[in-house]
Every structure is written in C-alpha cells, then in structure tokens.
Symmetry: D3
Subunit: 227 residues, 6 copies
C-alpha cells in the first residue's frame, strides 16, 4: 500500500542540456521563470557562504534519527546528480558527514539538499562539497529503519520527483520538474537578459516607477503624495 522500503533504480533524468543551461541562472530567476513556484522553504541554508549546486535529483525518504537509506542512495548516484533528502518528521540530527560526501562525490554526485541536519561542516567546506540543509548538528544517527530511494518526496515543502532539476545558491533552493526543464531554462534566460537592461537604467538614476510605468496604477489605487 505504501512505497516504503523501495529503491527505484531506473529513473529518467532531466535533459542534460537543460540542466547545464539552468546551472547558469540564479534560484530567484528560475523561480520567477516558473511562475513563482518550486521553492523549498527559506530555512534551507548553505553550510558555507557561496555554496551552489545544480543537478538531477536522487530522492531519499528518511525517518527521524536514521540515515540508513543514504548508503542506498550512494549506489544510485550518477554523474551530475544531487541527493535530495526528506524526512518523515522534522529532525535536525546530523544525518550526513564527510564520509558520505566522499562517497557521493566518488560516484559523480554534485551536492546535497537535506531537510535535516548535517555534520563535519569543516571538512565539507574544505572539500567544497555544497550542502543545503535545515540545520547543522553533530548528533549521530542509527541505521535501523527502511525508508526509500527515488520515490517522489516532499522536501522542505516542495514536491521533488527523482530526475527533477535542483538548483541552489545563496538565495535558497528551487526544484524544476524534468518535463519543463528546457522551457524553464529558456524563460529564465529571457528574464535575465531583460534584467540586464533594467539594471543599467536604474544605475543611471531612472526610477522603477517610470521604467515600469507604475504611476498610473498607483494613482488609480489612491496613492497620495503629502508634504
């Protein structure tokens, strides 16, 4: 009835060209390009300033205090993957450290997004292994209960399917469904081109009020200037 205790081996991943293209845009831009959806909760933070990642999701469902499934995830990692970890209830224990990072990297993994805690932050930072997590905690975990690998998971409030594109930077984490990865990449590119021009005009002192033509709508809404 449920899908616990499962490791799905064959998953379809988002098109690699789309992933590559998405890797050049920021999280805020991609989220806008998708219509302002797809963000994970803002409590997901990089463990070191400047961390960023982009790749296809290997999804994992863990239980509180138990990281057994991460070893199964390692086996599924292919070049360009990012491991995305959800937990069946909130838990900030340190599910992940430098040994698992070494293993993921050896398999081609590009980083980790985990709705839980991680540890060995000093080593992970030295490795420049990008991790976005809910917490940092030295608390160790057990290996006793089955979760699953490569099932759809809700991670930090966002639905992630295996193979979806996950992009993360200083602003947070966004997931792009694989079916629309190219479409989102194109829209993000257009948005970014568009912003370059705006940035120049604003830098020259032009007001957004004029550049975006907001004055009429503001007046209509009842805005009053007073002295």
């Amino acid at each position: 009835m449920n899908n616990l205790g499962i490791v799905k081996r064959n998953i379809s991943r988002a098109d690699s060209a789309a992933v590559l293209q998405l890797s050049s845009y920021g999280v805020a831009t991609i989220h806008e390009a998708m219509g302002r959806v797809g963000l994970l909760k803002p409590y997901m933070r990089p463990i070191y300033a400047g961390a960023q990642l982009c790749g296809t999701a290997i999804t994992v469902l863990l239980h509180p205090g138990d990281n057994w499934m991460l070893h199964l995830a390692a086996e599924q990692v292919r070049e360009g993957d990012v491991v995305v970890v959800a937990c069946s209830a909130d838990c900030e224990d340190g599910f992940f450290g430098d040994l698992l990072a070494t293993s993921f990297r050896a398999r081609g993994g590009r980083g980790l997004v985990i709705d839980g805690g991680v540890r060995d932050v000093k080593d992970l930072t030295a490795m420049r292994f990008p991790v976005f997590s809910r917490a940092i905690s030295a608390k160790g975990t057990v290996k006793a209960t089955l979760g699953s690998v490569n099932i759809p998971v809700v991670c930090a409030g966002a639905l992630v399917h295996p193979g979806d594109v996950v992009v993360a930077d200083d602003d947070g984490v966004v997931v792009v469904p694989k079916a629309i990865a190219q479409q989102v990449a194109d829209a993000a590119g257009q948005r970014e081109d568009n912003e370059t021009g705006k940035r120049k005009r604003l830098a020259a002192g032009e007001l957004g009020l004029d550049m975006y033509g907001m004055r009429e709508a503001l007046a209509k809404a009842g805005l009053r200037y007073v002295d």
Copy 2:
C-alpha cells in the same frame, strides 16, 4: 482615518554632523548611550559578515507578499539615506533584490533594513550593499496593494520615524530619534573613551570585580565563596 496609501515627500532628517559622528560607534555602544533602548529585535541579521551602515531613515510600510511601495521609496531616497521597511504582518518573502539595490544606490541610498526577506544575496554581497533582514528568500512578491512611505513604522519591534538615524553592524540594528542624535553621539563617544581605559586594565589582568568596585555589593547581596 489611517495613513495607508501615503508618500510623505518632505521629511526632516537628523543633523548630518550627528549622523557622521554616530557612524563611528558600534550599535552596542549607541544603544547603551541611549539608556539601553532603541534596538531592533536580534533576528535582524546582516546578509554578509561585516556589513554595516549608518544613515537617515526613509520608512516604508509594506503588506505581506507585496513590495510595490519600495519603488516609491526609491524616489524619496537622498544622499545618506537608509531605507527601513516594516510589514503589516510577518512575512519572509524576498521583497528586495539587486535591481532595487542598484536603484537605491543610484539615488544615494546607503543600505536597507527590512523586517522581511531579501534575495539576490550573491549580487548584493558583490555590490557590498549592506542589508539587514529577517530572512533570505528567493520568493518573489507582487505589486498590488498600497502601503505608505515616510510614516512612523514599527520595524522589528522598534519605532522608527522618517529622518531618524539608523545604525547597523554585526551586533544588530539601533534607531536613534533625530531629536537626540547629537546628544546620543556625544554620550556614545564618552562611553567609548571610557571603555578604552578599561580594556587596557583588564588586558593587564585586573579584575572587573576590582575595577568596578563590585565586591562590597556582592557581599551585601549574600555572595559566598566556598572551597
């Protein structure tokens, strides 16, 4: 009956000499010089280590998920201003990013203090545009509802009037009412002079117990040394 939908254009700003003087003191010192009041809540944090700002407040009241008024604020910014943003209910969306920062800076703005979220943190950091915020979030906002500019606002628990001095550093954010800006600057200076001497004595191994003459009061309060 209320003051929503208002942009006040002519505001009086704190004396620029007082602002300059205040810019050389830390937030903790200024807050002490005021009698331990004026601090914003400690959840207000810099988006990059070492960020600091000092300037006169342009105040903004936003509504959750709506950043329309920030464009009106840009128009009111003068050299040396800091934009101080309150929200009518708690919201951590990304109300502000690098385009608005570009606009504020082009108008002479010195930074942003916002009881909400911001995004484009990588770009803002590269610009060294100081921002103190409640959160970092890539979530975009709409432009649909009127708030106000340059009305008194409660930002992160502190009352801020337009033209007040706002000072922020790694310790947090403090607001100095414009009417007492010079007085506070002088008191902060005295406090800082006073601390320099104390620091030397403590560094030489003298105890605060002796330097501050606390032993009598401690004994009177019933302190017991045991072995």
Copy 3:
C-alpha cells in the same frame, strides 16, 4: 536549600593530557566516542566561521538580563579554562562583549560557551576569541541578582560540571565529563583512525553498502529494488 549565590573556588579539572588529546578531535567524533551523548543543542553556533575551542569548564548560572556573575567567573579562570554559561530562563540579551573577553583572555581563558546572547562580535572576531552562543544581541544587561559560579549547570540541554572538558567547533559543542576524559580521548582517536581508512575506500568508489556489509540486513528488513 539551593546553591544560588555561591562561588566555588577549588574545582578539580580534567587531566590536562586528556584535554590536549581531545583538542585534536572534532565534536562529532567525540560525541560518537561517548555513545552519542553529551551534545549541547544545535542552536549553539560559533560567532565566526571556523571558531573552535577546547578547555576545562568554569560554569556560571546567570538570570535573564543580568551578567553580574561573569565578573566573578573571570576571577576563577585559570590557564586553559572555557567559561560555560547557563541561564535560569531563556534569554538572548548580550551578556558578554569584548571587555569581558579581554579579561578572560588575560586570565588564561580559551573561550566562551553561553546559552544566551553576546555582543561586540566584530571585536571578538578580530581578537579571534572563540564564542559559541544561542544568539547575537547588542542588548545590555544589569548587575543586580546573584547567580553562582562553579556549580553543576544545564547549558543548552547538557549537564556540565566545573572542570569537565568542553570542545566546540563548526558542528557544535560537546561536554566530556572529567572522569572519563582520557577514556573518551582514546576512543575518539580510535574512531578517527578508523575513519581515515574508510574515507580512502569510499573515495575510490567503494560503496558503504559493501564496506559496512549492510546488504544482508537491508534485505532482511524487506528492502526491494524496483525498476
């Protein structure tokens, strides 16, 4: 009936050789070596990236908004001590700043662990004085109510006796009871040696599933691979 208003002067400290040995291991390793106990809550964070400390505890119990006892703690600090501060109720005020750090350091203090707030973060960072705290806040405190020094305290969820070893790094803070300090140091060393070998094998692409021999237990628990 209670032990408020007490300063205990003669405390036994953990063996210095054990402390030295512990200083070379990470918090996660030490906590594992102890059987996954002894951690302070993960909300205890360093005030600057890379801060770390290891030393013997001078314990302090404060009351909300009152830092009087920290001056009494300074008098008790000996070379190699770390001041560990608990509060009788949650409070994020700035109990500690650069003057007290100067005093602690002059007495031989190695750092501070405080279940409360601190300020003068810029100066503390410049001094490279390691502090692990619950919060950063510029809010000043009074000196009016007696707490105690060198009594057993509960700090951020962990019981700390005076003289226990306290170790902190990017992963958090752990306390090692003085009676078992050497034993824990030895176990940590063994664990670290053990991890070095594992790291190499994982880096070479070996899976934890095989290295740890997990496959049988997983199958027995009902794991299914699906395509």
Copy 4:
C-alpha cells in the same frame, strides 16, 4: 508552464463508503495503517478542543496575504468536501473567517485545513465548524493575485490531490490518497480491533515487554538491568 490561475471543476473523489469508514478512525491509527506516512506537520492544530473532520479534499493554492481563491473554492465544494489550503510561502494572516465558513457549509463543506491563519474563532467555534490551521490571526487579506483550485498542493509538508481523503482530530491531520482509501480504511479497522485486545491486557497489568515479546530483542541489543 505552470498551473497558476486554474480552477479544475471535475475531480474524482475517493469512494464515499471508504470515506465514511475512515471517519470512524483516529488520525494516529490511519497514519499507522498507511505505514507511517501522510501526516501534515504537527503545527496544524484545531481551533477548538475536540474539533474533528473527515472528507474529500478541494485543494487551494493561495499566495501570502491573499485569499481570493477561497471564493472560487466555495463554488467547487460539494457535500462531504473539506477545503485544504496551501500557501506559496509561509504566511499566518487570517485568510478565513465566519463568512467563508457559512458559505462552505451552505455548499456542503465539512471543514477547513489551512497552512495559514484564520480568524473569527469565536464564531467558528459557536458554529462548530472544524478548522485545523497553522495560526490564528485577525489580520485581513486582499484579493489581488491568482492562485489555483483543485491542483495538487503541498499543505503543511504533505502532498494532497483533489479528491483525496483528509481526516483530522486532536492528534493532527492525515491525508489518504483516494486510490488507496478503502485499503487504508480496512487496515485501520484491523489495527483498531487489534488495539482493543491489547488495551484490556495492559489495563490488567500485563507488561508490553511480555505482550509484544520484546525481552529477547532487548537482551540481544545489550540491555542491562542494574540495581
């Protein structure tokens, strides 16, 4: 590319017999029957003690501070439905009050589950209209931005499809996918039958250690009794 601005009118709902059967079991029992998945976050609480509901989901995606879509949801409500509301970013404003409750009830609605705030709690309690929410807040919302109705949503950490069964009581909220509603109902029934017998034995003083036959596993895990 995205599914914002959509109202889906024809949805399939879980079988009414299964819904009826599920209405007689508690949330904890149903969640266990599903393999310990399907729960919304525990911050979802009833607005009055004893509130409970069971019905088929009309799903809604709102934006922070904007409740426009709830009026569209009212139009879709049929006898036996529960409105389940997600928000594109965390927001505790009062999106819902007694007028909407009156409208939902008039259409056959059985209650509300909202990852946001509600108001008019006194009236809702008097109406015995069951509401499970993240917060209570008097803060009003605007009607300016399109969300969607009857798309899959992530509500308080759980994925909900339109037509799924939603059950809530003092223990929280659980969602049962419509495809397995009958299967879960049956499993829940068996579990409940099973518990009745256990309750009697425990009430008579028998220990769970014996009843569940745990002693061997405990001994094997290394349990030691000491005096």
Copy 5:
C-alpha cells in the same frame, strides 16, 4: 535623554462612550475598520478560551526578568483600564500572577496584555481575569531595575500610547489610538451591519463570487476553468 524611570500620572484616556461601543465588536472587525493596521503579533494568546477585554491602556515598559514596574502600574489603574506591558527585550518569564491581578482588579483594572509570560493561570482563570500573553511560565522575576509607566511602548509589534483603546478576544489584540476611537467604533459598526446581510445570503447558498461581483476581475486576471 531617555524616558526610563518615569511614571506619568495624568494621562488622557479615550472617550468612554467610544470605548463602550468598541467593546461590542470583535478584534478582526475593528482592525478592518482601521484599514488593517493596529494588530499585535498573533503570538499573543488568551490564557483561557473565551477571554476578552476592552479598555484604556496603562502602558508599562519592563526589562527582562524584572516586574518591578507592575506595582507602579497598579497605582495608576483607574476604572476601565487595561494594563499593556512591553519588555525591552524578548522574555517569557512569569512577570504577573494572581496577586497582581487581585490588585489591578481592586483598582478597576479590566485585564492585562503582556508581551511576556504570566503564571498562576489556574487562579487567573478562576477569577476570570482576562490575560493575553506571549507565554505561560512559572518563572519568577526580580524587582531591581527601573522601567517606566505610561510612556509610549511597542508591545508585540504595535505602538501603544497611554489612554489608547485596547480590545482583545480569541482572534488576538488590537490597539485603537484614542484620537480616532469614536471614528473607528462607527466604522466597525457599519462593517458589522454590512456583514450580517452578507452572512444570510451566503448561508442561503449564494456564492461570494457573485455577491462581491468578482467574476469579471478574475477573468481579467486570467483565470481559467478546466475540466
């Protein structure tokens, strides 16, 4: 320079007729009548279900862990007053209990709004003394540091002047500036009359979409019905 250590004795209070009229409306209604401002943060909750109050504010500023000023507030309480307590930094200690409630009531006090903790909840409930607080805590406080009475304070995010009207019910707490108390009362009354009619129409099955005439705006915004 600051206004600490002050008790202001003569304050002007809102007109008693306006206060009486406001006492018949709910917090949500009053807040809407003011243009959706004036609310305290939603973490302010009644200590017992059904608590409500309406009166003129005696304001108090306390420091963390210190309730000395509440005794000075008692002296200022007149018939119909509500004591509104702010704290110079977040603190959840139990500043207030049944003895102070007895004193406030003896002086004519109608209740308490406190951005802090309270205790003796069982007794306060038995007395039906309405309290809206941030927390419940048995932790006692000291009487050592001066705050002030009847100065403007920021309480739970809202600016309150002495003599303003404070209204609280199950939905939260709202403050009405005394200068506009009558105006707000009238607007609230109109709003309530208006809602009565709407409630009937909705109860009869009419949709808000039609009653509020929303369909055109929704279509214009791009709403799509799909099957």
Copy 6:
C-alpha cells in the same frame, strides 16, 4: 563508558509524606520556595486544560523517533510514580499514546512528562491521564535503539534524577530533588500562607508599593513621577 542500555531497578524515592504535601502547592509556589530554580522550559504544556500531577520520577532517555524504552519504564513504575522522558535530540514525534497510558496507570503511574510528542490526545483526555509534553503529534515511532531507564536525565532543560518529585500544573513543570523534598514542601507552605494575607490586603485596594514598602527603593533608584 556511558550509561546507555541500562535499566536501574532499585531507586530511592522521595519521602511519600513530602510528596503528598507538595501535591497541594502550585508549580510557581514550589519553584519560588526552591529559590527560583528547578523549572522545565515553558514549552512543556498540558495536553488538556486543568491537567495536574505530582509524583516520584521514573526517568527515561529515548532517541529520536524511538520509544522502545517506554515499555521498560512501565515495568519500573510503582504506585505514585510519574514517568519523565528526555530525548537525546529534539524530536516531536508521538512517542506515547493511550495504550502506554493504560499500562502506566495499571502499574500505579500518575502521569507523564515528556520532552517530545504524544498522541491519542482525545483518549488520554477522556482517561484524565495527565500529560505534559513538548508537542502533540500522530507520528508513530520505532523500537530499535536502546536508551536507558532511571539514569539522571536532562528533560526540557532541567536535571531530573530517578525518585525526584515532579509537580506539574497549568503553569508548567518543576522538579524537586528528593533530598530536599520535605524542606521545599515546608517552604512552599510558608509562602502560600504568606500569600493569603497579601491577597486580602490587595483585594481591599492596598497597593503593593505600600504593602511591600517599595517606595523608598524606587526613589533611591531614581524614579520620577511626572504629570
């Protein structure tokens, strides 16, 4: 080296006369009588209004998501005991429900204090089985990892030894070390007698300022009355 995996069978319990006497005082009174120490964090709340308990502690240390040890605790419960549960890391899962309550009660247990979540709240309330917890959650737990029973634990910030007295009511939870139980009971009694007289005087309109003789100290501290 550590005390995990241990069940201590023979514990000394606080004197039953002292426990009986303590059961007649409130938590706030007892905590004051102890010198304002011994409280658990205020996030510990009763699952139903009016719940209260007093008894001797059976202590339990659990791990996140694992309630195995509660079954071992049941075996140790004697008439008049209260089970006090700590967790090695924060976890809000539902470790406890009506079956365990039935078992505890059958053994003479008086209630539960748990720094974690509980479920079956409706049934527990119907049983009038008093529970004070950090959270309510339907999330089930596993039985896989050893903790311990009747070792000293830190529960919600307070150190609890087996056999200590635990008292809980609407104001929170306090622990009284068994060695001083009688002494605290006597001091609490004196304090309560003392309060009765004060309550009468305050009810008659006398001010605490006069009754406690505070005016001189206030004047000395610099209090100013202004008009």
